[in-house]
């Protein structure tokens, strides 16, 4: 049995019954990662020695008849925007190149408390700003299905590492689609939970009214397993929700036949790839064939979502990123005459082009004379988008949409055109603005053999519903069985 063929749920089972040790599993993933990283470049840092030591400790614990918990011996990777004590946290930015957080994010401490082994930190667009992981201040990541293509972003390192089976599962963060879009482009499962479902304590902030941490894995069950561990109220994050957490994993196989699935009557099909559209239609037929009832719905404001999102998220980002001033942590530009010059130079040298662009755009829309026309107007439009969903969810239990308008694009293809890059988020942004949960599940391949994803959106805190639907779809199809041509 090759441990790298197993999902997190399967690894936990095999270790539990003694057929594999945590050390064997960890070694296998580290070896595979050593072999594939020169092609994929998914990681920014790895903690080989610490991971093997921890695996040994977990094996010793099991030898004494004990289990650390629900993730005993499961190797995981975290997007390098999630703080772990003793590991670097660069956020993909030169401005935090040598930063080691002095505390654990709540999600990290919850994973560790359940026996997970953290193998490393994955690549991302700088401060999660991007849709291709090309904005990383360190290096690009390649799509395991075609290394000439991007893995999507901003959690492109996590998605690529999972797709390449360098890791069974990982965490990313999703502000406008940064878990779901790379999951779609890399052919894996990716879930953005309801806003507030998962604590963000220790997640470096990008746009605070939108940011949410979510799991990526090769099966729906792995997403359910990880969500069950990381979800729940945290006194350290005042925006975290107090709603009770479902047993997502054990409720996964529920009946979906009575569910009503909303299909948007009008999709912005302009610029949409015909293979994606075909896969989307086929996916709806598949869901209907297993007893789901499809219902046409209207989301009249959805076509304004990208505009709304880039006004709100950049405004919030310009404020959140004011903290990088070269004083308390991170990079400081050397040899400056006065404090303000030091700020300006530090930020000039420490930030990459996309981050600067968004700080400028966000500061512009918040500045005197423009605030009402852009920022406040966008916040009102956000209300209209949320109302669209409220109305639709009176009639349906979930909504199906494509996750992305196209399969993975070529490295460099959209770098010179920020607006085109932003428009690749067109289907993921609406759920972010409304704060509802949404999941990507593999739903086909383009004629070039690149993965295509289906997105299922649910009501606030109805993660169980979309996980069940995604699981039923996964059972009815074999897209998750195919492997990238790496070996």
């Amino acid at each position: 049995m090759n441990p790298t063929d197993l999902t997190a749920v399967q690894i936990r089972e095999q270790i539990g019954k003694g057929s594999l040790s945590a050390r064997e599993v960890t070694r296998a993933f580290l070896d595979r990662s050593d072999r594939l990283e020169p092609q994929v470049h998914a990681f920014l840092s790895r903690s080989t020695e610490d991971a093997l030591l921890r695996a040994q400790e977990l094996d010793d614990l099991q030898a004494r008849g004990q289990s650390a918990g629900r993730l005993h011996g499961v190797p995981l990777a975290l997007k390098d925007l999630i703080s772990v004590r003793g590991m670097p946290c660069t956020c993909g930015s030169r401005i935090l190149e040598n930063y080691f957080p002095p505390y654990d994010a709540t999600v990290a401490s919850r994973l560790l408390a359940e026996g997970a082994i953290l193998l490393g930190k994955t690549n991302l667009d700088e401060f999660a700003m991007g849709s291709s992981t090309e904005n990383s201040g360190f290096h690009a990541t390649n799509n395991p299905w075609d290394t000439r293509c991007v893995p999507g972003g901003s959690s492109g390192g996590s998605a690529a590492a999972v797709a390449a089976r360098e890791i069974p599962a990982a965490l990313g963060s999703d502000t406008g689609g940064s878990v779901r879009q790379p999951a779609a482009l890399c052919g894996v499962v990716g879930l953005k939970p309801t806003y507030g479902r998962v604590s963000r304590y220790g997640l470096v902030a990008f746009a605070s009214s939108l940011d949410q941490i979510g799991p990526l894995g090769r099966s729906v069950a792995d997403a359910a397993l990880l969500l069950g561990v990381i979800a729940g109220h945290d006194p350290q994050d005042s925006t975290s929700a107090v709603e009770p957490v479902d047993d997502y994993l054990n409720q996964l196989e529920g009946d979906v036949r009575a569910l009503r699935l909303g299909i948007p009557r009008e999709l912005p099909t302009e610029g949409m790839d015909s293979d994606v559209l075909d896969s989307y239609r086929a996916a709806i037929t598949t869901l209907e064939s297993i007893g789901v009832e499809s219902v046409e719905i209207d989301l009249p404001t959805a076509s304004h979502a990208v505009a709304c999102y880039y006004l709100i998220s950049t405004a919030e980002a310009s404020s959140n990123l004011a903290r990088y001033d070269g004083v308390r942590y991170g990079f400081r530009a050397p040899g400056q005459n006065d404090l303000h010059e030091m700020y300006r130079r530090t930020r000039h040298q420490g930030f990459g082009a996309e981050v600067k662009r968004r700080i400028i755009l966000g500061t512009y829309v918040l500045s005197a004379g423009y605030y009402d026309a852009y920022y406040l107007k966008a916040q009102k439009v956000r209300t209209l988008i949320a109302r669209d969903f409220d109305r639709a969810f009176q009639r349906v239990d979930a909504i199906a949409m494509p996750t992305t308008p196209t399969p993975a694009f070529r490295l460099g293809e959209k770098l010179a055109d920020p607006l085109q890059m932003y428009l690749s988020d067109i289907f993921t942004i609406t759920a972010s603005l409304a704060g509802i949960p949404a999941i990507n599940v593999p739903a086909g391949f383009s004629r070039d053999g690149l993965p295509i994803g289906l997105q299922l959106l649910g009501k606030h805190f109805a993660e169980t519903t979309i996980l069940r639907l995604a699981r039923a779809f996964e059972l009815a199809t074999d897209f998750a069985q195919r492997r990238p041509p790496l070996d």
């Binding site: 002095p102 004083v327 005459n337 400028i360 603005l433």
Partner: protein
């Protein structure tokens, strides 16, 4: 409405304490203009009487007792600073504040 000029970019960069190169100013002015022109589509929506959403799900009960809680160790936090001479004195050194 937009016609973002390099002067606008300079004004905003100053507010954001961000130095930009000449090439960046030129590129950002053109790109911001394109992005904001695209964003103007939201003007066509009637938002009269619509309240603004600042958070998707805003809790209004997220209060806790105002009690002392342990924080991070002072020395550990000070060690994170790129300041050259903060060793041992509990201070972070910065260049002079008044030019």
């Amino acid at each position: 409405m937009p016609k973002v000029t390099q002067k606008d970019v300079e004004r905003v960069a100053k507010l954001a304490h961000l130095e930009l190169s000449a090439e960046e100013k030129q590129a950002f002015a053109a790109q911001l203009d394109e992005i904001l022109t695209y964003a103007e589509r939201i003007d066509s929506l009637d938002t009269e009487g619509v309240e603004a959403t600042s958070h998707a799900l805003l809790r209004d009960d997220a209060f806790r007792e105002d009690e002392e809680r342990p924080g991070l160790a002072r020395e550990e936090v000070l060690r994170l600073s790129p300041s050259e001479s903060n060793k041992g004195n509990g201070l972070i050194r910065v260049p002079k504040v008044l030019p």
